[in-house]
Subunit: 340 residues, 2 copies
Amino acid sequence: MSKLSQREFAARLGLSYKTVSRVLNGSDCVNEITRRRVLDEAERLGFCGHAMARGLRLKKSFAIGLAMRNGGQTFWLDVAEAMDQRARETGYHLVISHRRRDCNSTEEIRFLRDRQVDALIVAPHPTKEDRLFLRDVAEAGIPILMLVQQVPGFLTHYLGTDSRTGTREACTYLLGLGHREIAYVIGPPEDTAVTNRLQGYREAMRAAGIPDPHQVVVRGGWRRDGGEAAAQALLALPRLPTAIMAVADLTAFGIYLALRRAGVRIPEDVSLVGYGNESAGELLATPLTTVAQPAEELGRRAIELVLEILDGRHPDPVVAELSDRLLVRDSCAPPRRDSP
Amino acid sequence: MSKLSQREFAARLGLSYKTVSRVLNGSDCVNEITRRRVLDEAERLGFCGHAMARGLRLKKSFAIGLAMRNGGQTFWLDVAEAMDQRARETGYHLVISHRRRDCNSTEEIRFLRDRQVDALIVAPHPTKEDRLFLRDVAEAGIPILMLVQQVPGFLTHYLGTDSRTGTREACTYLLGLGHREIAYVIGPPEDTAVTNRLQGYREAMRAAGIPDPHQVVVRGGWRRDGGEAAAQALLALPRLPTAIMAVADLTAFGIYLALRRAGVRIPEDVSLVGYGNESAGELLATPLTTVAQPAEELGRRAIELVLEILDGRHPDPVVAELSDRLLVRDSCAPPRRDSP
DNA sequence: CTGAAAGCGCTTACAG
DNA sequence: CTGAAAGCGCTTACAG
């Protein structure tokens, strides 16, 4: 098998390349028998069109750019896989650009733009510079979908999950268990994912009659080391809270490790809740209670949304959120009797 | 900023589009001052060439296809990230196709081929049908690099890690601790990654004077559930081996979980070794001793190899392996005194 | 060092 | 229903 051009392929079938092109582009003014024959023979001879030539003519690459970060989380793997699946079903493909840790994404975004992607999905929190550049890209006519991170005042499409409600529910669960001293370990306050979750925590606490000054909010981060540092800070407090919530599972893992090293038992001494349902959470000696985000649905919907946008079906910026849900495992218990 | 074509861009600079093209393609017969000016203005005006037009003319897409599976492992995420990085540095980009679990990849490979990738990197173990198709693809002039999984008798390029030696070393370590009854939990025997590792196990055991019939090899799988099943089988044995090695970390996690449920302590009652250094291994109550595979280096080298092949620098199939290394944590100890 | 011209492999109005 | 023709945005020999 050598690569067949549409012309050669048509010649082999004794048809004009015109007819072949029409079949491939779904024009209906073609005899049904011919249509089937073309499709069958294409399969048999391994004929495939020339994506670049087609793209050039149609001014469309059928590529969707995905700027993502590798935070060592299986969550993003699942999201990307779902996107990939859905994109393929609809004739598109994904061009992925992984953001290097802790650096801005402008270079990535430029890279994807230069690849003529039809649309861009951006998962990492964009820096100011990124935003400036994204605006340019959007103005050049490439739709942008912010995924999970919504930038305030930045008018693009957004798809995320309602992690504010998710966090509120987790906190309410802890309150229901009898906890009053619940610490919340956050990540960078620039990230909307962080501020949303923090809001959920504050709402639940206030609703239980615990005002902001009595709430314990500690800066950690998205990663394990941030969680460990936050746990140290918590351990240095005059009295350790009876429950700790973390902005993410990785953070919770760090807290878990540091607490264990300090001889603190979970859930006997302290209850712990993560966020994101990383698969490793089940492996802890005390499987982690967490809030699950719908990775597959998020990936699938992201692609569908982008396609709708490309179709012109959303003249105004879309703002959509899926639901997270509390996943109770073993890391929470009522507070100890002897803690006041 | 609206999308600028090369012609418009050249016009704005008061240059012929010819000159611009020459600068962009690295021709040296251009005045150095002009060269710099073109590059600077391109940056300033957000000019980028048209990848598809360029690709059409050059008969080159600058895309490398990656068929991978999502086994829920952070390992592959790291490999893909490293590839992405290296590809970008060299002007290429990655088109990734995730293989759906337990199905064959022909569809994925076809998809990537249809995207006019310049080369193909295949990570999942190919089925017979896949291999047939891959052969066609190779004959159509698209170089193929098998990653990690080498198919016997299938003459393509291969890059992996020497997991046979890695496994032998892990086994030797266990033998050095005094273990004689060491079980090995394998995955599908069609996978060369499995047979290689099994060979390493057998070599170490034989070298210690333990012939094949006295070795304990149990079928598990690549995933956690396979490990759990294998552990059940092991638990049903008249006497539990004093040490267990698993073909992969995920498998080891399953064994770990099942053992814990059965009240077996690690490493006091049984020593356990995984393979692959998944980040979750550190989170276990007893951090898992494992063998680390160089994910970043593997990804980087894969891209470099592919580029060399595209350059015609490897007329014969490349076969290359990087080294794995034992990573001792806490899941192994000498066998219990009372186990004979 | 630069201009005019051909062509990469498609799609799509435009005639027939 | 089908053929001849133009053009998508580049690159590259070929002259000048």
